[in-house]
């Protein structure tokens, strides 16, 4: 008899002996969930390396055995039998035998079978394309449904749930004023400060007013407001509708004969479309105030800053910015509600919808902003 190896892990030890075609694994100590992991691979390697006709586990020294220990025994049995040899467990205490009988019928699966099949690059591209196509189709269908419902709401204003609309307007609009004002102010202040230093070297620091005025009114005011709206209200709409979907409230509306789009989406979209231009005005105003603070600190009187601003920006700049913000509001609220209505089941579903609402919202804002830039350029606005 030849002793090959002795392993000791915490309070578990094993020793292997090989004798004319029979390998015996002597297990001593606690074979439990904490100790089994340390000897798992080594125990399996005994079979692979010695290729015994008969493999015996001598469990006379096992003082404790739990599910993990039984799992190891089952795995050894499976490995040995699939290699064409015989397997036996000897001297396992009666109490642990009962555990072995309990788990004995469970088929042992190779870990390779458990891992999902790896998709090829082409398959992955195909799957992603299908998903994007499906998403686009849903978006177009929802846009159509929402447009029809909005027209119907315009034709029959008494069908709109105005109370819900005003409530949503308060949450998405009024309550957002402080954050919009703060971000607008900081944006104006930082932009003015960063541009004033290099421009001063050329004696052009008065033109900071032009820079702030045009960039805030035409571009940054609407954009920052829309992004804040997507993060703040688009996500809230998705979470709210998603929770309603999980709690079967959307199904309840449908079976009552009430259209969820008219009942839930229209008030929120109307609230966002009304509130976004108003919030943009606040962002613009506070951006200009931020610029004024820098200009005053540079020694320019407020009236000079004001006059320069009025000569640089026109009503068209303000209106083009506000018209963009209308569209941004529509898109953010629409996609937020769509993601909410698409919520599946399970604890993570609402979280996924919320994330998706913000990401889709911001992507759509960026695309729409590009479209507006080309449009305004073509129209000479």
């Amino acid at each position: 008899m030849l002793a090959l190896e002795t392993e000791k892990t915490a309070s578990l030890g094993f020793r292997v002996s090989i004798d004319s075609g029979t390998s015996t694994l002597f297990v001593v100590g606690r074979l439990d969930v904490h100790t089994t992991g340390g000897v798992w691979q080594k125990a399996l390697r005994v079979i692979e390396e010695s290729h015994p006709d008969r493999f015996v586990v001598d469990a006379s020294g096992v003082t404790y055995c739990d599910g993990a220990g039984i799992a190891l025994l089952l795995k050894l049995q499976d490995r040995q039998r699939s290699a064409g040899g015989s397997f036996a467990i000897v001297s396992l205490r009666e109490v642990f035998h009962r555990l072995l009988d309990l788990y004995g019928n469970i088929p042992v699966t190779e870990s390779a079978q458990g891992t999902p099949t790896r998709l090829s690059f082409v398959e992955q591209v195909g799957r992603v394309s299908l998903e994007v196509g499906h998403n686009l189709r849903t978006l177009v269908a929802f846009t159509g449904q929402l447009t029809v419902t909005l027209f119907r709401a315009a034709a029959h204003p008494h069908h709109v749930r105005w109370r819900d609309m005003w409530h949503a307007a308060e949450l998405a609009g009024v309550n957002a004023i402080p954050i919009v004002a703060l971000i607008g102010f900081l944006l104006g202040l930082i932009m003015a400060f960063q541009s004033a230093i290099p421009m001063r070297r050329f004696g052009a620091d008065i033109f900071v007013a032009n820079l702030i005025g045009l960039s805030m009114l035409r571009e940054l005011g609407p954009l920052v407001t829309a992004i804040l709206l997507a993060g703040r209200s688009g996500s809230a709409f998705a979470a709210e509708l998603g929770t309603m979907k999980v709690r079967e409230e959307i199904d309840a509306l449908s079976t009552m004969g009430l259209d969820p789009v008219r009942f839930l989406v229209v008030p929120r979209v109307l609230a966002a479309v009304t509130m976004t231009p108003l919030l943009t005005i606040f962002a613009n105003l506070f951006g200009l105030i931020g610029g004024a603070v820098v200009m005053i600190s540079l020694g320019y009187p407020l009236v000079t800053y004001g006059n320069q601003l009025l000569s640089a920006v026109h009503m068209g700049d303000l209106i083009s910015g506000l018209s963009k913000s209308l569209a941004f509001g529509l898109v953010v609220a629409g996609v937020g509600c769509l993601r909410g209505l698409q919520t599946t089941t399970g604890a993570s579903a609402v979280g996924e919808s919320t994330t998706s609402a913000v990401v889709s919202g911001i992507i759509l804002i960026a695309i729409l902003d590009g479209v507006f830039a080309v449009l305004f350029y073509s129209l000479g606005i």
């Binding site: 019928n105 709690r247 409230e249 199904d251 309840a252 449908s254 079976t255 009552m256 004969g257 009430l258």
Partner: protein, 258 residues
């Protein structure tokens, strides 16, 4: 209890349903008669909630027809569908009350949307329905302020707002203690007997089924078909199907015991 000789209120014909691409119910047919308490029974995963959701028009079947008071739910659109929807109310497993509204507002909602009743009439009707389910003292409470059993009763009140012919209940006893569950059973029986409302109930709670059901159908996920139909006591005592007997006698199947 209604007899088969009376008119049929719901007729399901050659109905096949799939869930995520695999067939869960394969070509079943049955009828529900006016005024009866009809229970759809089956083990977990047998497709009983799926069947209910098809009957109330939330899902579209692979094939077959679902006739509710003569109109086919599957093919109906526009006005016909709207007419079918007014004929039934639904109580969902979790109640599905609107969390931003009080109980009275929840019950008022269908009245606001589908009637031109004056405000005070709607309030009165909502309070009457809440009184019927014993919740008149909680009319101004929000759903989150009442217990699970009360939420289910309020959901029944809302489902009854437009005095429907049929009430569909999805697992009314789920998550309730035995006493609350028994109270809900009493309420269902009272409404069925006094108002002649037809109930279609999805359940697998045996005490509740014995208490309320006039007839049951049993779905078996292995054959994807109805394996038994009739009064529950009769099925328990006389069924020749082993699985049906095991179900009614709460015996574990050979698979589970190994």
């Amino acid at each position: 209890m209604a007899s088969p000789t009376e008119d049929v209120l719901i007729r399901v014909e050659h109905f096949t349903a799939a869930y995520q691409g695999s067939v869960v119910i394969d070509d079943i047919s049955f009828e529900v008669y006016p005024g009866e308490v009809f229970v759809i029974l089956g083990g977990s995963g047998s497709g009983k909630s799926t069947l209910l959701k098809h009957m109330i028009g939330l899902f579209e079947p692979v094939s077959g027809a679902i006739l509710i008071d003569g109109d086919d739910m599957v093919t109906a659109g526009g006005d016909t569908r709207a007419r079918i929807l007014t004929k039934f109310g639904v109580m969902y497993q979790q109640g599905a009350l609107f969390g931003s509204m009080t109980l009275r507002e929840n019950v008022r909602l269908p009245l606001e949307e589908f009637t031109d009743l004056p405000d005070e009439a709607m309030n009165l009707i909502a309070d009457m329905k809440l009184k019927l389910v014993g919740l008149d003292a909680f009319a101004t409470y929000m759903p989150s302020e009442i217990s699970g059993g009360m939420q289910k009763r309020a959901a029944i009140a809302r489902a009854m707002a437009l005095d429907p012919l049929i009430l569909f209940l999805d697992e009314p006893s789920a998550g309730l203690d035995p006493i609350t569950s028994a109270e809900l059973d009493q309420l269902i029986l009272r409404l069925a007997r006094s108002l002649r409302i037809t109930f279609v109930v999805v359940s697998h709670e045996l005490p509740s089924i014995y208490a309320i059901a006039d007839r049951v159908i049993m779905l078996d996920k292995r054959v994807k078909k109805i394996v038994a139909m009739g009064p529950p006591q009769e099925l328990r005592d006389k069924s020749t199907n082993t699985w049906v007997r095991q179900f009614f006698n709460r015996e574990a199947s050979a698979e589970a015991t190994g």
